[in-house]
């Protein structure tokens, strides 16, 4: 299994698509996550604050862009958007093996199918770790720049909070990556796996479940609390709100706490891993 892990890591390390995926997320994290919002909040015309409570302007939202808020801001901003990049990594890791036909090359070497699968998932987890570390790294740097430009405090959250944030980010992105991996294993290709993964995230949970959650009662919310993206949301929200203090009371509390979210996400990851193992072990390789 160690050989499989080593060579799967080598393959991911050498693959340009992996670095494009990671690099694009990091560029977006700086550009979209910080630069765009910094300019919007800083140079917004006074009329754009219409609708906000008295005394609150868009400038007050810049609090989210400073180092003290970077962990919760990164998690709340990227738990779904960044998850899509992790999903693509998971799909690429497995789906391309079917597309190129290299699955038969792998399976006719010495390690068994499960050892190969374990190595592949281990390498994918390393790629996810790089993705998360990179995302938090560039977010931290961007927040310092924003604070220095505005002459605000450059104090970061406590180390414990940063570590917890990294762990939460890793769990959220690992869920997405394994979700992509199992879809690619199921459909034996990349295109359908990415398409259905995004459709599920955006249409099913992002739109339909959100509407149901808003109009339904507690029973509906209770049911929805067992779906994965609701729990990536609960987990990121558990780090707190990034809204100005004057708006804090208007922010709805998450329906479930972080412990529930971690448990549900771990269950999904375990089920997806088991599903991938069953599919990989039992299926004929005909392509």
């Amino acid at each position: 299994m160690l050989a499989s892990l080593a060579w799967e890591t080598f393959k991911l390390y050498k693959r340009p698509a992996v670095w494009v995926c990671i690099g694009l997320l990091l560029v977006l994290a700086i550009g979209l996550g910080y630069a765009v919002f910094y300019f919007v909040y800083t140079y917004a015309p006074p009329a754009s604050s219409t609708g906000l409570p008295p005394g609150v302007t868009l400038k007050d939202f810049k609090i989210a862009l400073y180092p003290a808020a970077f962990v919760k801001y990164t998690l709340s901003f990227w738990d779904t958007l960044g998850g899509v990049f992790a999903l693509i990594l998971g799909v690429l890791s497995q789906g391309s093996e079917y597309g190129w036909g290299t699955i038969k090359t792998l399976y006719t070497q010495r390690p068994g199918r499960l050892a190969l699968l374990a190595g592949k998932l281990g390498a994918l987890s390393l790629a996810v770790l790089v993705l998360v570390l990179g995302l938090f790294g560039v977010s931290a740097l961007s927040s310092i720049v924003a604070a220095l430009v505005d002459a605000k405090s450059t104090v970061f959250p406590a180390t414990d909070d940063i570590v917890k944030g990294l762990a939460a980010g890793f769990l959220i992105f690992e869920f997405w990556a394994v979700f992509g991996f199992v879809l690619a294993t199921l459909f034996r290709q990349s295109a359908l796996a990415i398409g259905l993964g995004l459709a599920y995230a955006i249409v099913i949970e992002g739109i339909i479940f959100r509407i149901l959650g808003n109009v339904g009662g507690d029973t509906v919310k209770q049911v929805l609390s067992w779906f994965p993206l609701a729990n990536t949301g609960y987990l990121s929200q558990s780090f707190g709100s990034v809204t100005p203090p004057a708006l804090a009371r208007t922010v709805a509390k998450p329906f479930a706490d972080a412990n529930h979210a971690v448990l549900v996400l771990l269950i999904y990851i375990a089920v997806f891993l088991a599903g991938s193992a069953v599919l990989a072990r039992a299926r004929d390789v005909t392509n």
Binding site: A3, S4, A6, W7, F10, K11, K14, R15, P16, A17, W100, G101, T102, I103, K104, T105, L106, Y107, T108, Q109, R110, P111, G112, L116, D284, V285, T286
Partner: protein
Amino acid sequence: MAREKVVEAVGLSKRYGTGIMAVQSLDLNVFRGEVYGFLGPNGAGKTTTLRMLLGLIRPTQGAATVVGARPGSPQSLAKVGAIVETPAFYPYLSGYDNLRVVAGLCDAPGSRIGAALDQVELTPRAKHKFSTYSMGMKQRLGVAAALLKEPELLILDEPTNGLDPQGMADMRNLIIQLGQGERTVLISSHLLNEVELMCTRVGVIQRGKMVAEGTVEELRGAARLTVRAEPVEQARALLDSLVGAENVAVREDGTLTVKMDLGHTADINRALVEAGLAVTELRATTQSLEEVFMELTGTEGGL
């Protein structure tokens, strides 16, 4: 002394979920040191059989052992090098890096990579990306990867597919070279002249069933006598009386084919002439493997 079986399949069958019976009760024995040709038209079940021997596909019925172990088990795969259909590698990696991955996974020392590349004459292009390789180079890289384990058994599925004439000749020479000594080679093909040149023993599969097996000479059978004489009906009747009707056949071009001991050719000639028949051709012919194949499978070999 009994020869050692490197591949032994008994009653191997595969029915796909679609209901297609790809392989039916196939018995296959490949002995150590031979180059075994697995012949059949497209869709006959060759690739499915080879995939079952590599553990890529599970048989519906029957069993097989490959180099003494269950197909697809680490014990078996450690001794088997294979190319199944088109060689598949990572397009963004160089040929050399692709071999590093394969060597790493099959626990072969990295020092073998250079030797394998030399053997298939791919060293000058080893650092180039696989995606830039021609079909012939891809096939040769596939052979190099299969050789990394120093396998006891080499399974090559249609290794000359997609190659130009020069590439086919190079691949054929390489396979002949690889098949020398103790190494066993199991090669599938629908190109009969290739198999005739490379293989010591041949099995013919048609619609998932083995329809003939033996050495090339055994399959081609004994030489026959081709006779052209007029009138054909009288010549046929005379030959039937001389060698038996079961040994005489009339071909579409009006010639007669006679299975017989060619030592009696002069006697046949004399009998035909004395009966007043006009004999215009009398020659010994040997069936080509292609003719045997067409006879067995009802298809045009190699087309």
